[in-house]
């Protein structure tokens, strides 16, 4: 039998997580649990390809040959099974398992409920209506497994006027004020590009919530339902602006690359095109070190720059003085010189430079994963190093239905005869039904 790698000794070994998550925030929440050894099972179906999380089952090659979207596929080739090649699935679903079942048919729902009864945690970040329509709610199913820890992390929460609103990460950013609080100081929000911090924020909080509830279950024997509004959760991350409103009734606007009190606090141009180094100076002593490092001791004596207030008021003049030095150096050279002088500086690394970064490399942060039919590539390893229980990428992201054999036969105890029926009914399989029924377009 094709069994998933052994997790004995890992922190969450023996904890089974039903992963109903899609797109972004949810899969990254379950990644944190999978990296620590939980048995995270992606529940997938052959009838409804998960286009937002894996890929369109058929990607027009012309869309990939040029432009940013194509970089999500190795060598810009979607291949016959793009849903197993795309970047996101291979990033966030390493260490997870995959089962296929079609819960829109009674037999699939029955299997789902059997698996649910044997699980410890359920994670779901679907729009609130999606699972309700199927009858998959905490209220309906928890009697089958009162110990279940069920974490719902929709965009806005499980109640309230926006419960059924469509919300992706960037929508949440708008509602909580992050879109308003970032951007260029001399422009308006139409020049802000979408960012997805709300997804990161929801992922880490949801994983923590699941474990806090499991901790309590160990002591009380009781499960519970967690309502995590991605929006409310992210409000906390904007603390300085939220508390300023609370204290002063002041609605902050963007600081650009500036800081409420550090100065200078900005990025500076380097040699080359679009190359930059970030510098942050918290006090006069750090400013003196910066001036010495760039051989401009005269700036310390310049009364315009003697105090934080002065450096803030004369920011553009100071910026030109510092840029005179940075323009003659590469970002990495500038960072090294300044850091060795005790100045907070960071190169604006290109993505390639991050992969080659000496610090990340020395700590073995990137792990090379060999993915059959995809290739061998480096991925970010677990976010944190646990010295007593080292964490690694144990297995690549699952192919669709990769763990059917183990989950149906060993976990659910399905007989050979029943297994064969489920294959025939296209609950169990490894290829989407719409492709199976168009054999002329599928190369085996």
């Amino acid at each position: 039998m094709n069994r998933p790698p052994d997790t004995t000794g890992l922190p969450l070994s023996g904890i089974r997580v039903l992963d109903l998550t899609i797109v972004w925030a949810g899969p990254f929440a379950s990644q944190l649990l999978a990296d620590m050894g939980a048995e995270v099972i992606r529940v997938e179906s052959l009838q409804r390809p998960d286009v937002n999380t894996r890929s369109q089952p058929r990607m027009p090659q012309a869309m990939l040959d040029e432009g940013p979207w194509g970089s999500n596929y190795p060598d810009r080739k979607a291949g016959d099974r793009p849903w197993e090649r795309s970047s996101a699935i291979n990033l966030h679903s390493r260490n997870k398992l995959s089962i296929t079942l079609d819960w829109e048919r009674p037999r699939g729902m029955e299997i789902f409920k059997r698996l649910f009864a044997k699980s410890d945690v359920l994670l779901d970040n679907n729009a609130a209506a999606t699972l309700e329509k199927l009858g998959i709610t905490y209220e309906a199913l928890s009697p089958l497994n009162p110990g279940i820890v069920w974490v719902s992390l929709p965009a806005y929460g499980m109640s309230g006027p926006y419960k059924y609103h469509k919300g992706y990460g960037a929508n949440v950013e708008a509602i909580v004020g992050h879109t308003w609080l970032r951007g260029y100081t001399d422009s308006d929000p139409t020049t802000t590009y979408p960012v997805y911090h709300a997804d990161a924020a929801a992922a880490s909080s949801a994983a923590f919530a699941a474990l806090a509830a499991l901790w309590w279950r160990r002591r009380s024997g009781r499960g519970q339902h967690i309502d995590l509004s991605q929006a409310e959760n992210m409000v906390h991350h904007l603390s300085q602006a939220v508390m300023d409103y609370s204290l002063n009734g002041r609605s902050q606007s963007t600081l650009g690359n500036g800081h409420p009190w550090m100065a200078p606090h900005d990025i500076f141009p380097n040699q080359g095109v679009d190359r930059w180094v970030a510098i942050a100076v918290a006090n006069d002593a750090e400013f003196a070190r910066l001036c010495a490092a760039i051989d401009r001791g005269d700036l310390v004596d310049d009364e315009r720059f003697a105090t934080i207030m002065g450096r803030r008021a004369n920011a553009s003049a100071l910026r030109e003085e510092i840029a005179g030095w940075t323009r003659q150096r590469s970002p990495i050279e500038a960072m090294n010189v300044l850091q060795h002088a005790g100045v907070r500086a960071g190169a604006l690394h290109t993505t390639r430079e991050v992969l080659d970064d000496p610090q990340l490399t020395a700590r073995g942060f990137f792990e090379t994963v060999d993915i059959p039919d995809v290739g061998s590539y480096p991925f970010c390893g677990p976010a944190v190093k646990m010295q007593g229980t080292p964490l690694h990428i144990r297995r690549h992201a699952p192919k669709v239905g990769q763990d059917n054999d183990y989950l149906y036969r060993e976990v659910l105890g399905v007989s050979d005869a029943e297994y064969d029926e489920l294959v025939a009914e296209e609950h169990i399989g490894d290829t989407y039904a719409e492709l199976l029924h168009q054999p002329q377009t599928v190369k085996s």
Binding site: L12, A25, L32, W69, S71, L91, G157, S159, P161, K166, G167, N171, E173, A174, I175, G177, T179, W180, R182, Y184, D188, T191, T192, Y193, P194, V195, A200, A201, S204, A212, W215, G223, H225, D227, M234, H236, Q240, V242, M243, Y245, N248, G256, P260, M262, H265, I267, A280, G346, L348, H349, L355, Q359, L360, R363, G381, V384, K385, Q387, G388, T389
Partner: protein
């Protein structure tokens, strides 16, 4: 200082993490955010602060009327609710002994600071594990406990730059931009809390604790907000999917921020199959079957035409109207809220998210409420401690009477 319990079903008198004993050292943002999550859900968190000013974040504001006060900084007040403050100088012999004694009965230490700094005072993990084998120690640092950058200093800005995401945020013909304030350090705090819980499960199973090494750079680099995905794309193809030269969106459907009558709205159209919804939103159902568009939904040359139709419609409506009308038609549009809008947003208000908390020096303020609501166990709305507020209360059970505490105070230990 613990406050009233909210949410939950009343069956449990306190939070999910009741009984968990936590020490916090070092302060700032990621560490306190980690321990705030623990404290608000029931853990007993002792915040060990240096007598000279305490947690550095006490000096970071924002302050009422911008007047500095170590008790009233908004960031500090928010990140330290439900904790007890113990003022100790752990560089003194007495201070070391107090930290060691407290660590003997703690489940978890969350420390944020320069790697190696605590070893000098014999209060590092290697010193304390001998007294408490099950102790879990979360060490949060800029770059991790080893490696060539171990001793470098950093800030949110420089770490976001080094993690590679900053090079990809902003406009193509302008300088790159950071995210607002310190959002990634908050994420790092929540990541640290997650791995702390994992290490506590492992300690319970194996009977031994461990050191958990949290590098802010590594958390930033593995953030789902574009950094980690771009790294995969780079490895796949030598180019990235999110960058400053990419057009926002991948079809002619609106994705991004658009102006409206009283502000701005964010539209998000992840799938070209949403075209009929767009037609409904702008009140032109005939567009649903117009071959000029439906045969060319990926042709970005048509985008200005589509944007013009949308703008003509949005500019006659408020952000709330645009949001409501679009969402009723299944289109992911959201008002771009200011802080004032957020505090008055009907959804946030109806869910009762913000809570009022009283503080002896800062007064009654509105704070963000539970980051998630647990159906059985409650979350508590408490306040941050005054510097050293609980010193005597914490030291007395250790056999130190008030006279001894007073002597230590004179010696500058507490």
């Amino acid at each position: 200082m613990s406050g009233p319990w909210l949410n939950g079903d009343g069956a449990s008198p306190s939070g999910a993490l009741q009984g968990l004993r936590v020490l916090e050292l070092g302060g700032r943002i990621a560490g306190p955010w980690c321990t705030k999550l623990l404290a608000d859900y029931g853990a007993d968190v002792i915040k060990i602060e240096h007598p000279h000013g305490g947690d550095p974040a006490r000096a970071w504001g924002p302050y009422r009327d911008d007047v500095p006060s170590i008790e009233c900084g908004g960031l500090f007040l928010h990140c330290n609710t439900n904790k007890r403050s113990l003022c100790i100088d752990h560089s003194t012999r007495h201070g070391q002994q107090l930290v060691s004694t407290l660590a003997e009965s703690a489940d978890l230490v969350v420390e944020a600071g320069r790697p190696g700094a605590l070893s000098r005072h014999e209060v590092a993990y290697d010193d304390l594990r001998e007294r408490n084998a099950k102790l879990v120690w979360i060490a949060i640092s800029n770059f991790g406990q080893d490696g060539p950058y171990r001793d470098w200093d950093a800030s949110e800005l420089t770490l976001y730059a080094m993690g590679g995401a900053m090079q990809t945020t902003g406009l193509p013909d302008r300088e790159p931009l950071k995210l607002a304030h310190t959002v990634l350090q908050f994420h790092a705090g929540a990541v640290a809390a997650t791995f702390a819980m994992g290490a506590l499960f492992a300690a319970e199973a194996a009977g031994t604790g461990q050191l958990v090494d949290v590098s802010l750079l590594e958390v930033f680099t593995s953030s789902p907000d574009r950094a980690s995905l771009n790294l995969v794309c780079e490895a796949y193809t030598g180019s990235v999917t999110f960058n400053r030269s990419a057009a926002p969106g991948w079809s002619i459907l609106p994705t991004g921020v658009y102006p409206c009558a009283d502000g701005y709205v964010h539209f998000n159209a992840p799938l070209i199959s949403w075209w009929p919804r767009f037609a409904e939103v702008v009140g032109k159902p005939e567009l649903k079957t117009d071959p000029h568009f439906i045969d060319n939904l990926n042709d970005l040359r048509l985008k200005p035409e589509v944007d013009a139709m949308l703008l003509e419609w949005t500019m006659q409506r408020t952000k709330k109207e645009v949001q409501a009308h679009s969402q009723e038609r299944g289109f992911a549009a959201s008002a771009v809220n200011t802080m004032e809008d957020l505090f008055n947003d009907p959804h946030i208000v109806e869910r009762g998210f913000f809570v009022e908390v009283d503080h002896p020096e800062a007064g009654t303020l509105r704070y963000p409420g539970a980051p998630f609501r647990m159906s059985a166990t409650p979350w508590r709305a408490g306040r941050a401690p005054l510097l050293g507020e609980h010193t005597a209360e914490i030291l007395e059970p250790l056999g130190l009477d008030l006279a001894a505490v007073a002597r230590m105070r004179e010696q500058g230990v507490v």
